[in-house]
């Protein structure tokens, strides 16, 4: 446990120093604020940008607050996923390239502690960034559209966080297997994209797929209730994450040669 806390603190200090603790939350907040504001000003934006003929009537129904939150979550699902994977790609490979990993592993640190401390620390940063962005969206949505009950906001926040839990595990897994940070990012995004693609292609067989988390969150926001499918998807996402993490520990022991 002591090792874990020390490694965790080291990870926090490193993230402060390379700026991850600052830029990730700020970027997520900006994305989170942008969506409600652009939805609110959509008619004006269209008016200013489009070469519409004189007298054209634009009649866009005002979206409800819940719809704005869903749209924001789908933004986080695309841009956010990309940013998160890019932010995580160097977590292990950088220490391998600089050789710093040797200094960690010659000490009585178990691989399990090393990987899990990295996982928890990075996940913590990403979740704080995500929550900060989402809270801003919620605040702006209540202000510009209609009040969305905080319990629905928290529920959707919690369920959607599971996607980040999975994403971190996948990126760390590829981080142990591959050496090149571009390859790590590419493979992780490819994997997550394949998962979404398969889910849209075979919805019957992929009910458990973590990509369904976004549909589950919209269900929570619009209908205001948990279904049994929410539980299924949550449990399968958590199981997959733990599985990937275990695989990462196993492969790290097998593959990583120290000294080169």
């Amino acid at each position: 446990m002591r090792n874990f806390i020390i490694l965790f603190n080291k990870e926090m200090k490193e993230s402060l120093r390379n700026g991850k603790w600052i830029w990730l939350p700020i970027v997520m907040m900006v994305i989170g604020m942008m969506q409600p504001i652009t939805s609110y000003y959509m008619p004006q934006i269209l008016e200013m940008a489009g070469n519409l003929p004189e007298g054209a009537v634009i009649d866009i129904p005002t979206p409800s607050g819940e719809e704005v939150l869903i749209a924001t979550l789908s933004q986080f699902g695309t841009i956010g996923t990309l940013l998160f994977v890019l932010a995580l790609m160097n977590v292990i490979s950088q220490e391998r390239q600089t050789g710093a990993i040797v200094f960690v592993v010659v000490r009585p640190v178990r691989v399990f502690q090393y990987i899990v401390s990295k996982y928890v620390a990075q996940l913590f940063i990403l979740l704080v960034a995500f929550a900060a962005g989402y809270l801003f969206t919620w605040y702006y949505t209540n202000f510009l559209f209609n009040y969305v009950p905080w319990i629905l906001m928290l529920g959707s926040l919690g369920v959607y966080s599971l996607w980040i839990v999975l994403l971190t595990a996948v990126t760390l897994l590829f981080g142990t297997v591959l050496r090149n940070s571009g390859g790590i990012a590419g493979m992780s995004i490819l994997f997550l994209a394949m998962l979404s693609l398969l889910t849209t292609l075979f919805p019957k067989y992929m009910e458990w797929s973590p990509s369904n988390l976004s549909t589950e969150t919209s269900k929570i926001l619009i209908e205001g209730e948990w279904g049994s499918s929410t539980l299924l998807v949550s449990v399968s996402t958590l199981t997959l994450s733990i599985l990937f993490l275990g695989l990462a520990v196993y492969l790290f022991k097998k593959l990583v040669r120290f000294g080169n």
Partner: protein, 66 residues
């Protein structure tokens, strides 16, 4: 241009403020680096003129990890 002045600046100000903070933070971080990936001066226009994506690109790709 009527709509432009009608914009509620209290709404937009935090958005601009956050981007400014991000830019300044990236510039401070940039100034502290001895070396970056690619020529060092190249990152100034990227950080300053490409809003939001510029500073992020600097943090992800520009910093030399030593």
């Amino acid at each position: 241009m009527q709509t432009f002045t009608e914009l509620n600046w209290a709404l937009i100000a935090p958005l601009i403020g956050l981007q400014l903070i991000l830019m300044i933070f990236a510039l401070v971080n940039w100034a502290k680096q001895d070396e970056t990936n690619g020529p060092k001066w190249m990152w100034i226009p990227i950080i300053v003129f490409v809003s939001m994506i510029g500073p992020v690109a600097y943090f992800i790709f520009g910093r030399k990890n030593v």
